[in-house]
Each structure stands twice: as structure tokens, then as C-alpha cells.
Amino acid sequence: MRGYEESREGSLEAIVKAPAFLTAAHELKSPLSLIRQLALYADSDSASPEDISRTLEQIKLTSERALRLTTNLTKTARLSDSLFGLEPVDSGVICHQVVEEIQPLYKARGSDVVLAGRMSPVLCVANRELLKRVLLNFADNALNYGETKEPVRLSVVLHSDNHLVRFGVRDFGPAIPAKLWLALKRRIDEGLVQPVSGRPDSSGLGMLIAKRFAEMMDAQIGVIRHRNGATFYLDVKASNQMALL
């Protein structure tokens, strides 16, 4: 029993000292701090009925965002083949669901997210829930880092001789500086997070989670740099089931 307790403490110590643990704590602290402040303001004499209504909506959307992150963290910790089976998934349906879920947050922030063109019924081999979470992650990221009024665009295309389905989330703003671009690529390739005090732009926790989810689906994430923004993409295997009909 003592050996078990010692080994358990050692494991816990390793966990709390891991950079990702601190990063996750900070990423959760920000929305919780905002929720608290909004609640204080809504409760004050300074807030008009319109202010209160808008503030309550902001509290709801911020808490939903924080819950998405905590759920993603839990799922990342519990990833195993048996829990997340793969099946043919209609790409267009997933994209519609993602837009429907995150659009209220976009609208509340004065932005918009749209589907790029008509969604053909392209089937991919994925886990429905993990696929949706990766795309929500990308869309959440685009909301925070896109800088123009141009709507963020969600797209689906077949490529690599129709062997892969590429889901793309395109945001618009200034081009990512070269130094940040290289750091971002490194985070995606190596799954790195960085401590809060050293972050030039973000912690990379979202990318780490997206990468782990993608790996469970034998998929890959990546990013394309444009002169006016970036596209974060997820390449998933195309399903041959439609070809058999």
C-alpha cells in the first residue's frame, strides 16, 4: 500500500509540475474571471436592464466556452481506442453542426462564421465527437485571432486523389509574422505548450488538444499561412462507402 501511495504522489507531483497543467489552469482562469466580473457588473446599480440582459448572454457564452475546454481536457486525458470508435461521417452535417453551435458566440462578439460554398455529402472516417471538437477548437481560435469584419469560413474539400477530406477554418487578418509562424508550426509538430508568462500570443493548449484528437482518428492537423490570415485544417481519411453504392 505504501509503495502505491508513494507512486501515486510521485505521479501527482509530476502532473502539477507539467507546463501543460499550468497552462490549462490559466486557460480556465481567464473565462472564469470574466464570468465573475460580468456577474459583479450585472449586480451593480450601474447596469441598465439592457446591460444586464447583454451581460447575462455573455456569461452564458463564456461559461459554455470554458466547459468546452474542460470537456476537451477530460477527453484528452482519457483517450483510448476503445472509447472513440471510428465510423463514416457526413462532413457537411458536421460542419453545419459546428457553425450552429459556435455562431451565437461569434454574433455576440460582432463577428460571423459561415460555410464556404455548398456542402457536398462527402463521407470521412472519423469519430463524430472528436471531429466536431477539433473544428470547434479551430473556430474558437479563429474568433480570437481573426482581425477583420470578414466572416470566418468553414470548408470541406476532397484532396490527395480523393483519399483525404480536408476540413478548413479560414480566418482573415494580418499575415502571421514569420517568427510566430515557425513557433506555431513547431507547436503543431511537437505538441508543445508554453508557460503563461512567456507566451507571445497563446499557450498552444488548443493545438495540443486538436493534435491528440486528430491522432486518435489517424488524422492530421496543419496550418496554412496567407497574406491576409490563416487556414487551420484537419485532414481525415475519406470513406469509400459512397463509392460502393
Binding site: S33, L34, R36, L38, Q58
Partner: protein, 131 residues
């Protein structure tokens, strides 16, 4: 000396800026301007010198530390008092000493996670501007 008339809020969270700017305007009757990054903040300061800046250090893009450096490089901007508002006040204290903060014109620290609405008012009203 005069009381605070112009406040500049610098933070990358638009909803935080929205409620705080409304609240300070209503409670203090001040002119409150918001900026979501250091570049916007400097641009505003070029046009209209604020009496005090409330600044989040850890922002996306050009962060608050870069802005503090930039302000110190101009004689007029270096005199503007700064109140740091952050969710990571412990990290700030680990990184820099109080003496170092003072050299950057920092006159106060507010922990966004625990500050009350009255704390924001107290911090700003304690700053007196020399004319």
C-alpha cells in the same frame, strides 16, 4: 493637481473592456477609451494623452510588457501612470520587483480574479495627475 479625466483601458478581451469602460464612465464621469492591443494603445496616446492607463500585461499579439517599454522610450508617455490589471498577478510579481515596476510608471496592481468593482474605482481615484 487634477482628478482623472481620461482613462485608457488596454486588454485583448472585448467583453471585459465593454463592461469596465461603461462602469468607469458611469461612476467617475470620465472619458474612457479602449484598446485591444499595444499598437492601438500607442496610436491613441499619440492623439490624446490619457491621465492613467489600465493595462493587461499578457495579451495576444504585442503584449503589455512591450507597451510599457514603448511608453518609457518617450518622455511624455513615460509620465503616464499605469495600473496593471491581470489574471496572473502572481506571475507578474515573480517576473519583476516592485522597484522595477515603478521604473515603468506602474503605480498599482489589480488582480482581475479577486478585485471588486470598488477596487477599480479606488485604484483610479488614488492616482492624481500633476498639471
Amino acid at each position: 493637481m487634477k482628478n482623472i479625466a481620461k482613462i485608457l483601458l488596454v486588454d485583448d478581451d472585448k467583453w471585459y473592456l465593454e463592461w469596465l469602460s461603461k462602469y468607469l464612465r458611469q461612476e467617475l464621469g470620465c472619458e474612457v477609451t479602449v484598446a485591444t492591443n499595444g499598437v492601438e494603445a500607442i496610436r491613441f496616446m499619440d492623439d490624446a494623452m490619457p491621465d492613467v492607463v489600465l493595462l493587461d500585461l499578457f495579451m495576444t499579439g504585442p503584449n503589455g510588457i512591450a507597451l510599457l517599454h514603448e511608453m518609457q522610450s518617450y518622455q511624455d508617455l513615460s509620465k503616464i501612470p499605469v495600473i496593471i490589471c491581470s489574471n496572473e498577478i502572481d506571475s507578474v510579481r515573480d517576473m519583476v520587483s516592485n522597484d522595477q515596476l515603478r521604473t515603468y510608471g506602474v503605480v498599482g496592481l489589480l488582480d482581475k480574479g479577486t478585485a471588486s468593482l470598488a477596487d477599480y474605482i479606488d485604484s483610479v481615484t488614488r492616482v492624481k495627475v500633476w498639471v
